[in-house]
Subunit: 427 residues, 2 copies
């Protein structure tokens, strides 16, 4: 097998990764006189901010995923390839993937991040990640399976282990998950499982630092904390998970939680491609880029999004690994590449990140939103959160389906997709 | 683990299987003074007639599945259990499942049917079934994977094997699949895969007998045949599949098709539970029932739907294994059980099957519908087909979502869900 992409008269830009960075730059550059090759391991773009709603049976994977070929179907000199890129050969200006080699004129690395277990394999083995729609579906199935099993268990201590859920990590994903679980416990599960006592179900959120949502303002952290407490979530601050065994979580404060389900939302790490000079990676394996999103000392190779580390005065440790950074870098880099190719490149147009605010939703009418000195909470922040997510979701069909699901859940206090559909395997 | 269901003052009816038969009878009997226990391997009811649309990326599994606990959530003396029933012990009046034993006052077996490979393991290994939403999703993924791979193949003969699809079986499932594949090939795939030549993609339907849709009228068979021919499907009648190797299908007419994808829609067989007297099963393993849906010589055990064989003058080989039979038997049996318990049972109310017609859709505006001497085809039959399927689909939400998807596909000639979401596995 090969990439089988014939050279055209246009310069070839190879984009690796179809997350926010890769997907947006491909969209901006299409039809602009380049040959584009967009490579991803999956045949779809996935909308990470709503993974937790898939896990909570509120949305289908398809509602927050978008087929790449459908998006780029009308572009003559654009090629989508489902492949795993393993290496860059900068001297030959080519990449090596599982399906063959491909040379580039310009290369954009947008491979994002993966779950960070901090090198601890036991944490990985005994917890559930949430960095893809597949993982979100897996979590959904696990929750449903454990509920079914707990119905059949004869002792409360066995039921307890099956019902309790530990969320590790107090960032937006962790907070949104914990809040969402608390709402399910209150509104949905007691009706579905009348023979279970949901007082037995404890939801923990474990955060290593002294506040939740450390990327947001202190006000918002406090509000999120209060919301979760109101909803009956046990918030453990300044607490680290030392170890996870199959049904036991050991915490840094010496205590132990017995639970079969630990969700690992405690951090991500860059997912770089190897082959760049070792000086191009920082100690966290992020790829160091300059103010033009270019990798220093490597010709024509750029990186954007979570995988990249762009240091500025305001961000001495690099820009945060969040979607708005990836999107803005994608837009910037597309303009930059157009300028280079039209010969109007100028060193006077470096990238500037505009902080468009940060937000997290905890539950119905409960959200926090920071934008510079503005701090919103409650129903207003919640509405802003809904609208912004709909705006950034790809595809008119997906927007309609997500709005429909949200309205349905809102009216009926219901997450409709409580299906444990196991994958089929042909033996 | 146990069933953990306490006896109430009501008589206990155990229903095994939540397909059309089991789901409908549970719905009819709920709140009528019984203790109901509904057992299925999955936590949802699935709508079999639309599996093929899931496989064709036109519908999500969730749109044609309905969570059992949600449906029965307001019923005090009704228990849903996800379990695999392995045996009936008629003398003890109990069933044995993977989660324990449970005694019954009345037992309803509605375990349906499974794919029939006629004892040939090689057929099973090398073909794809379509008897569950999981299998439908698997087929969707396989089609998408093979398309991606064929883009990368360097020779037309390799591409051919990946693109060609053989549908074995000319019943409704086979005909609907073949038609749907032909529409995808015409309307969707060339736009998604501009670098593939879809003239290379052949769609075969192989039927052992002399006409398609043998359960319908000859007129309808002829119309279906013409439709499929118009759409470019290769229809092979009077042809049997002798063998399937990994990329090669050997036919009874001596010819061979080279294809990696063979869809097995060539028949089903009953999926009975063991433990009944051997005289209760016929040679096809269907459970023989009398005109009251009761198993002869076994007290208080009933069977309905595909698993049951009910012989009458008009149907000397038993009623056909189709949804309307299961639904009518479910309605009948619920009334019958109510009569027994109220002491008004009378041998003068046997079950009568009312033929409500049969139908199959082949493509846009192309369907056939038989009802007694009425034979519809074309747009009228197609509309009837759509309306009847929406009517029988469980759940208002599902009806809305399916209508939305159909309208979307109709307007845009698009199946929106072309996502290959692989299951997550925690190593």
């Amino acid at each position: 097998m090969t990439f089988k992409i014939p050279r055209s008269k246009n310069k070839r830009i190879v984009i690796v990764g179809a997350g926010f960075g890769g997907f947006y730059i491909a969209n901006k550059l299409k039809g602009k006189g380049f040959q584009l090759v967009l490579i991803d391991k999956n045949n779809y773009h996935q909308f990470q901010p709503l993974f937790y709603q898939v896990a909570m049976a509120g949305l289908e994977p398809s509602s927050i995923s978008f087929p790449l070929r459908k998006n780029f179907r009308n572009d003559a000199d654009l090629f989508v390839r489902v492949a795993d890129v393993q290496e860059i050969r900068v001297d030959q200006k080519c990449i090596v993937a599982d399906i063959g080699m491909l040379d580039y004129d310009y290369l954009v690395i947008a491979t994002g991040s993966v779950t960070n277990y901090y090198g601890n394999d036991q944490l990985k083995r005994n917890s559930i990640p949430l960095k893809s729609v597949s993982e979100a579906l897996y979590l959904r199935n696990r929750i449903l399976e454990d509920l079914e099993q707990s119905v059949r268990e004869s002792t409360e201590s066995l039921q307890n282990k099956l019902l309790d859920i530990v969320v590790v990590g107090g960032g937006p994903t962790g907070v949104e998950l914990a809040g969402s679980l608390a709402e399910m416990r209150k509104n949905i599960l007691p009706k579905d499982y009348p023979d279970l006592d949901f007082k037995l179900m404890d939801i923990y959120i474990v955060q290593g630092s002294k506040r939740l949502l450390p990327g947001m303002s202190e006000q918002s952290s406090t509000v999120a904390y209060k919301y979760l407490q109101q909803m009956g979530v046990q918030v453990l601050l300044n607490t680290r998970v030392d170890n996870i065994e199959s049904e036991k979580v050991s915490l840094s404060n010496g205590s132990t939680i017995f639970s079969k389900k630990v969700i690992w939302a405690a951090g991500v790490m860059a997912n770089p491609i190897k082959g760049l000079p070792s000086t191009s990676y920082n100690e966290d394996h992020r790829i160091l880029i300059d103010e033009f999103c270019k990798i220093k000392e490597v010709a024509d190779v750029y990186a954007i999004g979570d995988v990249a580390c762009q240091i500025s005065e305001k961000y001495p440790y690099g820009l945060p690994g969040i979607a708005p950074v990836a999107i803005q870098q994608a837009k910037y880099l597309s303009d930059h590449l157009l300028r280079i190719c039209s010969g109007t490149e100028s060193k006077s147009f470096p990238f500037h990140y505009t902080d468009k605010g940060q937000m997290a939703t905890i539950g119905r009418h409960k959200a926090v939103f920071d934008w510079k000195k503005l701090h919103l909470k409650g129903p207003v922040a919640w509405l802003v959160w809904l609208l912004i997510h709909i705006y950034y979701l790809v595809g008119v069909r997906n927007k309609i389906v997500v709005i429909f699901n949200w309205v349905w859940s809102y009216i009926f206090y219901d997450h409709a997709l409580r299906l444990n559909i196991k994958p089929y395997k042909n033996e």
